[in-house]
């Protein structure tokens, strides 16, 4: 549906629709159908775009399971990226793999703490997480800007950026020249891990209970504030890792503005992908392919790559419509009979 709308849009703008779409397809998947040919490079670029989206998408989907809308993945990502850049530039005389793990851990924890801050505000002060995470996005972005123009700025550089990280912690491209690196595997492991936590652990069970009925959770002895905070920590951790992987694999330092809009695009990924890790992965692949395919399309056909953003928006709009019944189902079923109310003085009018 969304794609049809976009086809119409491209057509009305005076471009060749089949040509544009085939370029978009090749750019996204690397598959050329006639004559059949697999181009590794565009595929790798798509997967490279997928990795951060998978992190942020999984992060937001995770928080949604506890009924929270984490709009703060963007800021958590910034925190993760900056923390990783700092630890990566430090030479702790560790084996390179251990140093990489350390970089990821610190980046994840930095994002997690920012998420937990929103969780604490929600749990103990009833500040709505949408409000607090949006505000914390500004805090994170502006604090990072300040740091890379002052204390953490690379000396003698004109640009607002940190020094390069140690070569020992680089995640190297898997397809030469592309942005694809082992970060994608970390993302897949993290996304699958997050969904395993939800499905198979008592923490995940409590998160789901809190997400669907906080009163029932409290009555069953679940510490609701602790669950909300923990959930936001884990969500922030996943988003922080997105920043870590961008630093380790692509930029090799923190540069102002390097995190793009992956944190916000993750919202689309989470909503489109729904609750399952498979859904989120497919959605991240779709959006990643769309972004990188659009670049290819604009090179080949002069259709501006902002079209990709139009496609994303259109798809999310239609996916949003599809999501609605799912959201409605989460409300408690109405009491079928006009039987008398509980002890609470809130009675139906039929007594």
């Amino acid at each position: 549906m969304g794609l049809l709308l976009v086809a119409l849009f491209i057509g009305l703008s005076g471009y060749n629709v089949p040509q544009a779409f085939s370029a978009l397809f090749i750019g996204a998947t690397g598959l050329q159908l006639v004559p059949f040919k697999v181009n590794l490079f565009p595929l790798a670029q798509s997967l490279a775009q997928t990795a951060p989206l998978l992190f942020t998408g999984a992060a937001i989907a995770f928080a949604l399971r506890a009924g929270m809308f984490n709009i703060g993945a963007q800021g958590q990502m910034v925190a993760g990226a900056l923390a990783t850049a700092v630890v990566g530039a430090w030479d702790p005389a560790l084996l390179s793999p251990l140093h990489i793990v350390l970089c990821l851990a610190v980046g994840g924890i930095a994002g997690g703490l920012l998420g937990a801050a929103a969780g604490l505000l929600k749990a103990y002060r009833h500040v709505h997480e949408v409000l607090s995470t949006i505000m914390l996005n500004y805090v994170a972005a502006d604090a990072a800007d300040y740091l890379v123009t002052h204390g953490l700025k690379e000396r003698h550089s004109m640009a607002p950026q940190t020094v390069k990280i140690s070569q020992a912690v680089y995640l190297h491209p898997l397809v030469s020249g592309s942005g694809l690196n082992a970060g994608l595997f970390v993302a897949v492991v993290a996304a699958v891990g997050a969904s395993l936590v939800i499905k198979y652990t008592s923490l995940g069970f409590r998160i789901r209970t809190v997400g669907e009925n906080q009163e029932a959770a409290a009555a069953a002895g679940v510490n609701v504030p602790a669950v909300l905070t923990t959930t936001m920590f884990i969500s922030g951790l996943l988003a922080g890792l997105a920043g870590s992987v961008l630093v380790l694999g692509l930029e090799h330092r923190y540069i102002k503005g390097m995190t793009g809009t992956y944190g916000f695009d993750g919202i689309s990924v989470a909503l489109l992908g729904g609750a399952s890790s498979v859904g989120v992965t497919v959605a991240a692949l779709f959006f990643g392919g769309l972004t990188s395919g659009a670049g290819y399309m604009s090179l080949q056909t002069n259709v501006p790559d902002s079209i990709a953003i139009v496609v994303q928006a259109a798809v999310v709009l239609f996916a949003g419509a599809r999501t609605l019944p799912w959201r409605q189902r989460r409300q408690p079923a109405p009491v079928a009979k006009p039987t008398k109310g509980a002890f609470a003085p809130v009675d139906a009018a039929d007594d």
Binding site: F205, A216, Q331, A336, P338, D351
Partner: protein
Amino acid sequence: MTTPTTRLAVKMSRITRTFPGVVANSSVNLSVVAGTFHAVIGENGAGKSTLLNILFGKYLPDSGTIEIDGEDVTGNLHQPVDSIKRGVGLVSQHYSLVPALSVLDNLMLGSSSTSAILSFRSAAARAESLISDLGISGIDLRARAGSLSIAAQQKVEILKALYREARILLLDEPTAALAPQEADALFLLLARLKSRGTTIVFVTHKLREVLLNSDSVTVLRNGRNAGDFKTSATSSEELLAAMLGTRMAVPATVKSPRLVEEGAQPLLELHRVQVRNARGILAVRDVDLQVRPGEIVGVAGVDGSGQNELAEAIVGTVGTSGGKMVLAGDDITTRPVALRMGAGIAYIPADRHRTAIVPSFNIAETYLLGHEQDSAWGGGVVINWALAHKRATNMLQQYDVRASSRGSAVRLGSLSGGNQQKVIAARALEAAPRLIVACQPTRGLDVAATRFVHDALRRAAGNGVGVLLFSLDLDEIFEMSDRIAVMYNGAVTGVMARSEATVAKVGMLMTGGEQ
């Protein structure tokens, strides 16, 4: 007054109104003399609110006739506006003020005297004179309605009705949410309104309020008339007999006398427990209560007497503002819910949908909730779903829960209410509890399911478990309890052995009457 004969302000005749599966009013008559304070009383579900809402135009009756001030308005009351135009005002249990607007805005809203171009000055003048006429204090016309206390909001609701020139004021359980002093102030205000000629129709189930304030009383029972009385010529015994009907005669015999050692150390001891509700009003006042092992203590009381708050305080989902709670010698007053459950408290919440059920959970998940750390249930850091399903499947058989062929993987929401309740009861009973806090455990269940839950609770008590049973249903209280405690206005007004209890005695305590 100058009218020598008794002019009727309201005359409702043979009103019948059914809801799916329920006959709320069956051929009910209500006659209210103009300028009097008329009380309508009855137990929960007697049909009081329905009758009021029909008079206010919220519901159309299936049959019957309605006269207001002598004018036949049958079939003309399609919506509240139709009643308001004829001088009827309703103060319902749920206030209908717009919280973000000022008090004055709320008064003007929907009033026929408000013209298209708003004149705040004249409206304010009118409201001020109304306020000073009635001697109402503490109402600031410019305050936001949402910032007012419940009692003040109620005053605004009354003002709103009078601003619309209501001559017949209907009040639906107006004291349910008020502190006693606030209730006293309300009755003073109503008395002043009556002296100005306003007719007052007052729905309640508190006998004391009726006897102290009303001129006449209509009693409803099970949707039917159960008597009309002059307040000055009746007594609380007579009114109670009318409210309860034949059940008044229930003998005080104990079906299966069970001996609970008097000397046994109490399992649960409550010492002067106080609980404040969300608005800061004392909902539980200095409650002293004990439950001994193997004993079923029934807590009776009309809806909203503080039972819910007391139960939640014992379980730990709300905090106390005073007093002490001791479980088997350990002070649990400030312990979190999980620790109390670990110490042996099991909970069957009153509102199944709100506090017991997670809509998307299947039976196994529902059954596991609260036990997700317990390896015997399949819990732990990593959940053993195979074991959880196995336990749930056994439970389905043992408790005779009728699920479809998919057994424990069936969504709980697809079960009937009775089967849902069995799962929730099983979750509490199988936790090897020492104390079961059961709130309305059979609400909405059919006879078979009710018996099942009752038998399960009795079996638990037989095994030495203490049971604290909160119920609005007097029959259930009398059938199940070894001892009966009665709550009224947040306080326990009486505790007696089942053998000493009569429906009349309990009913009197429930409604605030003297013993």
